[in-house]
Amino acid sequence: MNESELRERTRALLKEVNPDAKGDQRIPFRGAQFDRGLAWVSFPEGLGGLGLAPKLQTVVQDELHKGAKTYYEDMLVNPIGIGMGAAVVLAYGREEGKRELLRRMFTGEEIWCQLFSEPSAGSDLAGLATRAVRDGDDWVLNGQKTWTTLAHISKWGLLVARTNPDLPKHDGLSYFMLDMQAPGVEVRPLYQITGEAEFNEVFLNDVRIPQKHMLGEEGQGWKVAIATLMNERVALGGGASKKGGGPIAVLLELFENVEAKRSPAEEALLRDRIAKLYIEAELLRLTGIRAKAARDSNVVGPEGSVGKVAQAEIGKAIWECCADVLGPDALVYEHGYELRQGSTSSPNSRLHAKYTLLRSRAYSIEGGTSEIMRNILGERVLGLPGEPRVDKDVPWKEIRRS
């Protein structure tokens, strides 16, 4: 199928099914999109795809955006499932029931979450301690997972557990899909610096997972996990923001509109700082475009790797600067700190900036700390040698843990 046929097929879908439903009402449209192979065009026919080149997906998205007023971004419907789970289920899931699993994932009928991080395994993900012990046709799991987005509304969890502690750390892991409604799964909100719980802790007490829900082979958990995280990168590395958009726009707006009596010297210092941040934000954006251009021509350059660490630091610095533009008004926190689930958003730039100052403290931690990202830049991109390792080639159970 060529591009224009694909475009036509998408237009036909838009004509035949109402694309502008909301909430649960969007299920029929997304179901039809799946059935016509327009969910993931690179997937096989029957599993939401048409066996086409992955980049043709943009043709579908393009038409959907043009043809539907309220078309919901795929990622928002089921971010973990669609962004990370789909490819893993496709590659490693059992054939039986795969179609239904993928379809319900795509429509958002079944939300997915990811259960990788643990309290004692943050940057050192492969050091995780959740144990899975074989018992007949089942695995019995005990342990604790953390930083789990959406766990409280999820049907399925992508989970890595240790099936053999006698092997070196990367070798004793296996990968499962966990029914979040199974007995012994307890989800608790994890409150943050802001008082919100965007994340959860998930406690596993004698939770049984049938062998058929293992994705990949026993001991392949690390490989499947890495594949999952690579999908995350691709999912996150989407389109570049537009010029002067995003956080820097908020900063400029505040700088222009906040009433504050600053001395000329303070004004000059702030203006220089904002100019510096503007340049950095703009260069981050342009570097993203260069990275995309390189990817499109299949050239792998360093420009694609610098994004995460730079984005984290620039983002933090911009929100810090916003607070400083607000001046003494930043002493007042209108949102308050009552514990609550979900994430705060405010159309008011001033309030948004106050909240995001706090929220942004995690930019350099979540999704890989800046320390880990700099290790990766140094070792994988620049080819610098690794550090002496004390946790390789020894059984996991002999590695010191906190």
Partner: protein, 373 residues
């Protein structure tokens, strides 16, 4: 400057630390920061009676201990260390200093003993929204009304303004700055607790509408107010030092005991060097605070510069350390249940309070005449 601490100084520090370790542990801080009042009156009473630190810098003739800036710095450092939730900076430092330096004798005699004993809590309402930390920017003007005055307008970012029962207002009379006492139930006075970014220190907006007020000072007070504010600035810098030191300790402990990749994370060079930088900052902050405190007692003409230096440096250092601490703690440092965010919020709010680091640098440069030809 010789930085000679006496045995009495050491004893004071130990006493205060022991007290706060019990009376202001993290659980207590969390209780108080979500309470309505924001402080514990019983604890406050014990601070006044048992420790005698509420009236630490109240002169002896007015019922206080009559001690100096070095003692104040020690006490404030310990308070900062435990994030004490109490109206100390507002009542026992700023309002007390203003009354000592600038109020009429009658007002001093009436108010200061009550502050020293903990019976009353005072606040100085001086900040106005546009340019809150500069006395020369105060615009509120008191209208004469019979023997007394009337106040109208708004003061904001008033420390502990919601709980204070001695309200001292700075306003102008014929262009000169003067102090006014406003009864906490005065007509036309409304107080709004502002939701604080840092829930361990409360702020309020005070609105006045033809509110009766009695003048309790004579002459223009600009210099006295600056001197009193310098004291509060030094105490705040000492709090910042205490907080920074504490965060450094917590972070070092964590870095020694948290293992990743089979090693304590403190063995990773980047974490280690970050901790080394924090140590340098804490030691410099300590030098800045003690220098300001000893100057306050021994070399008054250099206090203003020393105070700006201390607040400027400590603001940057505390905030940097609090930020680094969150980062080193990783995800845990971002949770509500860990104390890292409490210190971060205190650090950020303390940086803003009384003027940011660059604001104080600008003042210092002006005092020292940098580049003035």
């Amino acid at each position: 400057m010789l930085f000679e601490f006496s045995d009495e100084h050491g004893e004071l520090r130990r006493t205060v630390r022991d007290f706060f370790e019990k009376e202001s542990d993290e659980n207590r801080v969390r209780e108080l920061m979500s309470s309505e009042q924001g402080f514990d009156p019983t604890c406050w009473g014990r601070m006044a009676e048992e420790l005698g630190i509420v009236g630490l810098i109240v002169s002896e003739e007015h019922g206080g201990a009559g001690l100096g800036m070095v003692e104040l710095a020690i006490v404030a450092e310990e308070m900062g260390r435990v994030l004490l939730c109490a109206p100390y900076l507002s009542s026992a430092v700023l309002a007390t200093s203003v009354l000592e330096f600038a109020a009429d004798e009658a007002a001093q005699k009436e108010i200061l003993p009550k502050l020293a004993s903990g019976e009353a809590i005072a606040t100085l309402a001086f900040s106005e929204a546009a340019n809150p930390w500069d006395f020369s920017a105060i615009a509120m003007t008191a209208e004469p009304k019979g023997d007394a005055f009337q106040l109208s307008g708004e003061k904001t970012y008033v420390l502990d303004g919601q709980i204070a029962n001695e309200i001292i207002v700075v306003a102008r009379v014929d262009g000169s700055l003067a102090l006014f006492r406003v009864a906490d139930d005065a007509s036309g006075l409304s107080r709004e607790a502002l939701p604080p970014f840092d829930p361990t220190r409360r702020i309020a907006a005070l609105r006045f509408k033809n509110t009766p007020a009695s003048r309790i000072s004579s002459g223009d007070l600009c210099c006295q107010l600056e001197c009193a504010l310098d004291r509060a600035i030094i105490a705040l810098a000492a709090e910042q030092l205490g907080g920074a030191q504490r965060v450094l300790e917590t972070t070092i402990d964590f870095a020694k005991t948290r293992f990743q990749f089979g090693r304590p994370i403190g063995s990773f060079q980047v974490i280690k060097h970050g901790c080394a930088d924090m140590l340098v900052e804490v030691e410099f902050a300590r030098s800045a605070v003690y220098n300001a405190a000893f100057s306050g007692d021994e070399d008054p003409q250099s206090v203003a510069v020393a105070a700006q230096m201390a607040k400027s440096y400590c603001s940057d250092a505390y905030l940097d350390i609090a930020n680094r601490s969150i980062q080193i703690h990783g995800g845990m440092g971002f949770t509500w249940e860990h104390s890292a965010h409490l210190y971060y919020k205190r650090a950020k709010a303390s940086e803003i309070l009384f003027g940011t680091a660059s604001y104080h640098r600008e003042r210092m440069a002006a005092l020292l005449g940098f580049g003035a030809r």
